[in-house]
Amino acid sequence: MRNKQNEVRQVMVCCGTGCQASGSKQVLEAFITQLQSLEGVEAVASTKATGCNGWCEQGPLVKILPDDITYCLVKVKDVPVIIEKTILGHGIVERLLYRDPISKNRVQSHHQLDFYRKQKKVALRNIGEIDPASIADYMARDGYQAFKKAITMSAQEIVDEIINSGLRGRGGGGYPTGLKWKSCLQQEEKQRYIICNGDEGDPGAFMDRSIMEGDPHTVIEGMLICAMALGASKGYIYVRDEYDLAVKNLTRAIQDAREHSLLGDKIMGREFSFHIELVRGGGAFVCGEETALLASIEGNVGEPWDKYYFPSEKGLWGYPTVINNVETWANIPVIIGQGAQDFAQIGTENSKGTKVFSLVGKVINTGLVEVPMGTTLREIIFEIGGGIINGRKFKAVQTGGPSGGCIPAELLDLKLDFDSLHEAGSMMGSGGLIVMDERTCMVEVARYYLNFLAGESCGKCVPCREGIRHMLEILTRICEGRGRTGDLELLEELAETVQEASLCGLGKTAPNPVLSTIRYFRAEYLDHIENRFCPAGICRNLTRFSIDPEKCTGCGLCKKNCPANCISGERKEVHTIDPQGCIKCGSCIDTCKFNAVLVQQEVGL
């Protein structure tokens, strides 16, 4: 064993969006300045800003190598202690280690945590380990080796390798990636385009952001391999303009790749040129839809067109075009580098490889997790995610964003893959897993998605534009206590037309959140319609909060947290809520440790 004591310490500060929001940039700067003031710093420590480690909940995260120490929730004021104790003194700052909520033990390395142990990193393999602004870091982890291997392969061999890997598109529909490439390869037209769809729009999903920010070169390498196989000379990365850091890191990576002759004219001295241009999206969910994305790159309004020709046949400016999503591209270098066989061993029969999920909502460990296809919801939510916050009961998990559905507790043992999710009335989508507890109203969730889609439908075709508008109207009235008998049947009837008649995927899948919640939570809908009651206490017109005098201990926590100042009561005495002033935000019920806040039906309905 090497002597860790004398090795140069590497301080890796997570600078993903989550950690940055929690102040990691300042922590990084503090490390840099305070280490600089040390003598002979080069022999002691170096600092590195990494991409997102996925465990945003505990950010800012600071990892120290080679000791393999992970510090959580690090603040600027903790920096001197870390330098003194760990970097100079080779000790550990116990209080900054993660404390396992069950065993109460401190955990030294993130590798020991359930959150990481159960994961298998393929698409996210480099993130958190490298400085995304350093092409050398990427290369040190076999970066661009897959491309060099691809140079020795024929176009057909490359395409076959992708087909054999069983890789399916990670952006939504799950169409086999290799077949897209094959179809493009078969076109007579030789002018071809390669596109990376980074217009991640599913609310609740941020894996593409994380990959573009944390490992931009893997996207470039994936596209490069495809471009070489198909003889394409131009590629576009369409990225949401709101993703500042992703735009910055991708721009830098494209520049660096060019300087290393991995992009540009005559790549590595060969008769092959490939240029990548970054296109910043204008903020339209519908542009995640392939044909709308193409329209947007061409400089048009993002209205999709009927997909009776696939983009691989007639795409950008009418030329054959391969469009894959960010996570799909991130898998390509691994498949080519390590072989399709290795990749195909991971996952289920018809869904190979891993999938990145963004585990968010009412779960303890929120963040990005990558697991083999076929992992059950229970493993993800309870083992990796650590269960539901505040010890509440799991109610449902929403998958697939606005195109997906809500899966109830009965299906917690569902093995997640493209087909099982489809059968359960949902879909993989881009991989958002939004965990909901008993304080989530499923009718309101359905209303939320429809409202989202009403604002995001491009408005081109009638069933999507008008159908969504009317379905939203019905859901809104149910949430506001104006639901009518027959509303569920009317919703189902309209949903059918919207699904079948809509032009693009946005409309065709728009009814899913409504249909899946009606399917699994019909009783909750009926409670709203017939009893004018919202059991979750979310629909404000239907809800009144009160305090159970039997359970209230008079701790005062609810009073302290009430933003409307409408809870009164002396310490150690029963508190009461003034219904007149109550804004029904639910702060009291969410903070009460004794389950003393009750959800009741609003009076006078």
């Binding site: 009927d306 009776y308 604002g455 408005g459 008008e466 037309t497 008649a501």
Partner: protein
């Protein structure tokens, strides 16, 4: 190539749309956003039909679906009729002031339901006016906003610099949603007033100054440009008579 539409054999060329083929064979498929002058748009979805291709059935928009192999088309099934009925209901609720949609709402026997109507609205957002305006060379109007807020308008709803007042938009509109008024030698459309020019032959107002200036700028002067359509037709007929 021969395809089957409603049990009838129809001769088609590669790439024809189903709607084109059906119209040539005098088979009726309902449409609202289609006009023969323009390519299919796929907006109103009324023209949905069922296509059977190698044993697989799917619902497609006949105005945009290109025929590339032998298929069987069914223009009306119970499922499609149900969908059309809902689409007509949607369109009527969007533009309840349109006479056309009012009568379709009745013809399709749509039942009154609790869904709200856009009172007073006549526009169903078929986009034909925008296409016509583009065709006339001015592109003064466009679809603005998106989703449920989408509408046809000039930029900022102001009198457009580009509008020629030709009225092609109003003429093509299937629901008479575009207001065009003519009074005292002036035409008003899209918040803009145009002076009308009188026909040199019959003296009736027939076009706007902007329109004529535009046509003149496009090609060599035509003596007939200064006359209204009906006079032009009469003059042409006269010429043919002399010639024969």
């Amino acid at each position: 190539m021969i395809i089957i539409i409603d049990n009838q054999e129809v001769q088609v060329s590669y790439g024809d749309t189903i709607l084109d083929a059906a119209q040539r064979a005098k088979i009726h498929i309902p449409t609202l956003c289609h006009h023969q002058a323009f390519a299919g748009q796929g907006r109103c979805r009324l023209c949905l039909v069922e296509v059977t291709e190698q044993g697989r059935k799917r619902i497609v928009a006949s105005c945009t679906y290109p025929i590339t192999r032998e298929i069987t088309v069914c223009t009306s099934t119970p499922r499609i009729e149900k969908m059309r009925k809902n689409l007509v209901m949607f369109l009527y609720k969007q533009a309840p002031a349109s006479k056309l949609l009012q009568s379709m709402y009745r013809d399709y026997e749509c039942q009154d339901n609790s869904l709200p109507e856009n009172a007073g609205e006549k526009c169903m957002l078929c986009n034909l006016c925008v296409l016509a305006c583009e065709e006339m060379g001015s592109s003064a109007i466009s679809l603005i906003m998106r989703g449920t807020e989408k509408k046809v308008a000039t930029p900022y709803n102001e009198a457009s610099l580009d509008c020629l007042g030709c009225g092609a938009c109003a003429a093509i509109c299937p629901t008479q949603a575009i207001e065009l008024t003519e009074r005292d030698g002036y035409r008003t459309i899209w918040n803009k007033e145009f002076k009308l020019v009188n026909c040199q032959n019959c003296g009736q107002p027939y076009a706007t100054q902007e329109q004529l200036a535009y046509i003149e700028s496009r090609g060599p002067d035509n003596e007939m440009l200064h006359c209204c359509l009906s006079c032009r037709q009469k003059m042409t007929a006269q010429k043919i008579k002399i010639f024969t």
